[in-house]
Amino acid sequence: MKQNSKYNNDILRVNISSLSLRNPTILASGFLGISQELFNKLYRYGVGAVVSKSISTQPMEGYKNPTVVSLGNGSYLNAVGLSNPGAESFSKEVISNKQVPLIISLVGSTDSDFLPMVKKFDHLNICGYEINLSCPHVTQMGMEVGDDPEMVNRIIKTVKSYSRKPLFVKVGVGNSDIIAVAQIAKDAGADGITAINTIRAMTIDIETSMPILSNRIGGLSGKPIKSIGIRCVYEISKKLKIPVIGCGGVFTWEDAVEFMLAGASAIQLGSVIGYEGIIAFSRITSGIKKYLERKGLKNAMELIGLAHKY
């Protein structure tokens, strides 16, 4: 497609496991992520890949509103409660996907939840999976699963036994040591790690003394979590030698470069969309490109983990 040619730029192309992306920017799970028409639009606007909203076996309504609170200064608190249309309905949504590099985020409580879902998606035009083991605000899904090493192992083995597509495991900062969870994921056969998810947090309205989120506690995203994300990406990629996708508070090309220097092969954008809309993708990619040119680098992958040697 002609209109996309400006986004086909070898200097920005990155490979992560068996994936090859035209640039390192990826839509983070849970943002804008339920409509194929929106995915197509994101691709027209220059996204490198898209991660869908986390999908479960059955449709989920999620929590009552308020589910998203804007905290200002580039940060949000959310407890959406993993609302999603369910695997059956969502597989029909993306059946028409032609050109968008689409990663399906999956969430579940036990290994037996995952096989039926993978069977619904594996024959479609999708490029991989991201297993969400890190949603910090839904019991028995996400983070609580991530805290159970045996379950993490079984889930990954189950998906890998059926699918040849790359599998990423999304980890977060919670009760378990993030490196330990990533290690288990790697040992079980994961192709990469996405770090990090939101971090458990809360906000209270001082006029009413009431928590604002209907679930009271939610997950913090945006600028305040960036440096935690950088630390996690650095430690995981350095210790585990596994491809890492960085996420958390990326608002500028400088943030993206910092994540890559820490060891990320690509970066996900979420909260920034609330401030800039989907223009953020092309703005950040062109910033990375200029930086690479200024530094005399031939490809974005040369940035990955450069900070490890110091």
Partner: protein
């Protein structure tokens, strides 16, 4: 002091108007909402109960605005039952708004139910700009007619007509609002048709206006969580109703294959729209 419109502002309910047995207008003081553009909405927090997107209604009192709520499910009923002196939280106003064409002479406003709310604020603009307006209001029956007097009052400085239709004929013209539109759009030339209400009604309005080559703006409703363009729950195809809408013109509507057809529920699943009376 700079106010971040995304932060919840706690407001006191100063007054309540009973519009019909199931519809009430709650008035509160809030400068930002009092200056809202027609078609914009607020996210209204009913503490520890719900948060709902609601159009900004106009209030006669300076620095005040209002919301007009129809009692239905859990959240809307809790809001409907609020008393004077109780508090709610608001954030916004959000979304784009209805627009007026340069040198506009004649407008047609058509809506039903709480879809009339954004049209009321628009009516005051018509008055301000001296644009002649015909306002068609649809209701099921006489007991559900509201805002007729206010509309006449808001449009008092211009040449205007307020036409009420009821499905059962118990008040005004018998039939639907779009039946009336079909008659008058044949006889009179309008610069633009503005509509808000049940989506299948708006779809008919759009079809009729297109037939007579009249420009249209329609305000759409979708399930909203964030109201600020991040969650994607309000999407119609590739558009976000909370951000790129709620008001769409004939060019947008023509490209929206889901307009008048598909609504996504809380889970994001698609269902067919069957909401017309």
């Amino acid at each position: 002091m700079h106010i971040n419109i995304d932060h919840i502002r706690i407001v006191n309910i100063d007054n309540i108007i009973e519009e019909t047995p199931s519809i009430r207008t709650l008035i509160f003081r809030d400068k930002l909402s009092s200056n809202a553009h027609p078609g914009q909405f607020l996210m209204v927090w009913i503490p520890r109960v719900e948060e709902l997107p609601l159009s900004v209604m106009i209030s006669d009192k300076k620095m005040h605005a209002a919301i007009t709520i129809r009692k239905g499910g859990f959240g809307s009923t809790a809001l409907f039952n609020k008393k004077v002196g109780e508090i709610i939280g608001i954030r916004g106003p959000y979304g784009n708004h209805f627009t007026i064409i340069k040198n506009m002479k004649k407008a047609l406003l058509i809506g039903g139910g709480t879809g009339l709310v954004p049209l009321m604020r628009l009516a005051t603009k018509m008055n301000e700009f001296g644009i002649n307006s015909t306002f068609v209001m649809g209701a099921r029956s006489k007991t559900e007619v509201f805002f007729e007097k206010q509309a006449n009052r808001f449009l008092k400085n211009t040449k205007h007509k307020v036409i009420v239709t009821t499905d059962d004929g118990s008040y005004g013209f018998k039939g639907s609002a779009t039946d009336t539109l079909a008659t008058i759009i044949k006889e009179e030339k309008f610069d633009r048709v503005y509509t808000c209400g049940p989506e299948l009604m708006m779809k008919k309005v759009f079809a009729l206006a297109s037939e007579y080559s009249v420009s249209v703006e329609a305000s759409l409703e979708r399930y909203m969580k964030c109201g600020i363009g991040i969650c994607g729950s309000c999407c119609v195809g590739e558009q976000l109703v909370c951000k790129e809408g709620t008001v769409f013109n004939e060019k947008d509507l023509r490209l929206m294959t889901e307009f008048g057809r598909i609504y996504r529920d809380k889970t994001g699943r698609k269902s067919h729209i069957v909401d017309y009376n």
